[in-house]
Symmetry: C2
Subunit: 350 residues, 2 copies
């Protein structure tokens, strides 16, 4: 969201409906031949339902199997409301549904899943330039969220295997522990969809009306999570014991810091630890407090969920207002002044 | 999200599935008698579909008509993963679906809509205390997001009209221009749902197993938007002309600041305006740049979408590095040094 929508001036976020009428899926070609934007394979079927509860007065509706059509059918709303100049994009994150005959294969065959996608509208003659631009942006994204880039491989879809709407498609595949699987896709969809939905664009400068072409980056959200988790899974030995931990990039770790009082039954330690907790919480809300079991067990629990830093309040804290900060990857501990703690952690979370 | 989940220690965010099998809706009582959490009325029907594409091997599934059941069926997952102490809550924001026979009545009869809801798990004997606590929290929320509180009225649901699962329910109704309508609901659901789903809770301190009771605040997300928009709609006269504007609380205005060069065809003004735009963008991303038409028209455009501040770069800016800041509600302008601009705006956006 932040990288591709909020921080840009040319991208419009959208939340389109999940249920759409048969006519949309007829115009898009889905009822005849729906091709998966990630796998490039022909897909079996969509979830069908009926709108309207009176017998004989119902309409066939379908749960969206992808996000793209919701963006195309809202194209005119965006253009009429914001008058964007080309190039511009429409972006969407949301649930999609496919009526898989037998859900399986980790989360590669599921009935309900999350996609992140945008349609970027351009002049036909500039498609190669924009294709390359988004290709680079997708690699930047991969690096930024901490997916091991050495495990990601581009795969050019051959002319014969291209979806009916695409002139060029690159798959981004990831080396999962169980094999290579599609993670993302980048497609040049030409003007296929806007033409099907009978939509066009009026350029105020040239006074011409034409159909923009489309570059479409697609990101599997659940697949991204799985790639991050399998990539971060690590085992080593620490203090003579085998350890399992998640080597998550601090930026995406769901819990950034855990705060412990050394002992649960010493009121002064607990009180001070609560104080430290509250001080950090204001600036870093993804925080945990734990006073169960011994310190060693608490460290291991945090290691398993990938918490980058553990802060312990002990008896020395009560004397000189310093705490122990323990780093996840090395297990090393450092004493840091409580006053410098927030700055110390922030520096290392970047 | 920030108020009710991220900033709290006792609330767990969840994203449950939209499609759920018939067995869930049988256990919850929905297949027999589904009562709307906002309206308290018996509801007609859910969207039905079939999972599995092979004839004769399909299963009946339903699109969720509310969020609560997704939280109840995930109760055990949350308890087993986080070991929360009572009281704690599960929170969810998401789409819900109802197969309305005739969608109408603004957005009070729609087939696809957004709810925000949490189930707060408590000891039975403390239900009144927690009920009052959430009642107050809901009023705080109403004030914080800028809904006119004088237009919100509590309505105690009478014993006869209570849903089958509830021992007490308060509706929060809003005076829309077209009449009074339900906005939020607060219900004491007893242990009805967890008992139906055969779920319970083991208290490590008392070593006892029991079924927690539930307080449930429900917020209509689309209704919230409509209440804010209709409440913010304002008309007045400014500079001798009639004006329509949205008096949105700066905190929730989608665009916080608009930046204009006085004239579009003076390169130095445009360049400086772009500079000012970029400077603000880093700190306040909800920003617009506009150089179309004359200044008066640009002001009116921003008034209509409720932008609290317009910043204009003019010839004086090039001389002494000050800009004009124009406030939405009064239309008054002030000259502010470009260096002080960010601080000036930030102060007033609080």
């Amino acid at each position: 969201m932040e990288k591709f929508v909020s921080s840009r001036e040319d991208m419009y976020g959208l939340a389109s409906t999940i249920i759409m009428p048969e006519s949309v899926w007829a115009a898009s070609g889905h009822l005849e031949n729906f091709t998966d934007p990630l796998d490039g394979k022909k897909f079996n079927t969509m979830f069908k339902s009926e709108a309207g509860a009176r017998k004989g007065e119902t309409t066939n509706v379908y749960l969206r199997p992808e996000l793209a059509q919701g963006m195309f059918v809202n194209f005119k709303n965006i253009v009429d409301s914001f008058h964007p100049n080309l190039p511009f994009g429409i972006a969407q994150i949301g649930k999609c549904f496919r009526n898989e005959i037998s859900p399986r294969d980790f989360l590669f065959r599921v009935r309900e899943f999350n996609l992140m996608e945008f349609e970027y509208f351009i002049l036909e003659k500039e498609w190669e330039k924009h294709f390359e631009y988004w290709r680079k942006e997708m690699w930047d994204w991969i690096k930024e969220i901490g997916i091991n880039k050495d495990k990601v491989h581009e795969s050019e879809v051959s002319k014969e295997e291209l979806a009916h709407y695409s002139k060029r498609t690159i798959d981004f595949e990831f080396d999962f522990p169980f094999g290579k699987k599609e993670l993302y896709g980048l497609a040049y969809r030409t003007d296929y969809d806007l033409a099907n939905h009978k939509l066009n664009y009026y350029d105020e400068e040239t006074k011409k009306t034409f159909i923009p072409h489309v570059i479409e980056p697609t990101f599997g959200a659940d697949r991204t999570m799985l790639a991050i988790l399998t990539g971060a899974y690590a085992e080593d030995e620490l203090g003579g014991e085998k350890r399992v931990f998640l080597k998550l990039k601090p930026r995406i770790a769901p819990v950034k810091v855990a705060v412990f009082p050394l002992l649960k039954n010493k009121a002064k330690l607990v009180e001070k630890a609560r104080e430290v907790y509250k001080m950090i919480k204001v600036a870093i809300p993804q925080l945990m407090f734990d006073d169960n079991g011994n310190i060693g067990k608490r460290y291991r629990r945090q290691d398993e969920i990938g918490t980058p830093f553990c802060v312990t309040v002990d008896f020395e804290t009560l004397e000189n207002d310093t705490v122990t900060v323990r780093g996840r990857d090395t297990g090393e501990q450092q004493r840091v002044g409580a006053k410098e703690l927030l700055e110390y952690i922030r520096e290392r979370l970047k």
